[in-house]
Symmetry: C2
Subunit: 86 residues, 2 copies
């Protein structure tokens, strides 16, 4: 009996987009206040960003960087970090 | 001369909140379409989630999990992953 092995090649990239540290993160500040009101008084700061997970035919950091610069992040106020998920 | 060393103890936690895989991520689908229109035809799927970074007096996974369940994530439709940043 022949064994048929089908491999679907999908690469994955994880992108973390965060506001630059010098900018006020008003969403994060609101969340921090809410956590403190709920009794989580150990919380001093919260920053909120985006997590973007992409499935690609082939992983290329250069291409993913280009996606970030053209669409996924605003380079004026945000910075991004790219990781391949293996 | 006495050396004064001041240590500010701040722990950090990173929380990744994503929609459960069985749910349609309409934001992600829109981003995927835009990427393809921009020429990134290698992209097959995009999922968008939240990245939350917290500064705490002391790290406790149980406490951060409680924060997620009470405020940061919606357990009905989202799942979360907690990491200590060291």
């Amino acid at each position: 009996m022949a064994r048929i092995s089908q491999t679907i090649d999908v690469a994955r990239a994880q992108i973390l987009v965060t506001l630059k540290p010098s900018l006020l993160d008003s969403a994060g500040r609101t969340v921090a206040g809410s956590l403190q009101n709920l009794g989580f008084t150990e919380v001093s700061e919260v920053r909120v960003g985006k997590l973007i997970e992409i499935e690609l035919a082939e992983y290329s950091e250069a291409r993913v960087k280009e996606m970030c610069e053209k669409l996924l992040a605003n380079p004026v106020i945000e910075r991004f970090e790219i990781k391949e998920i293996v």
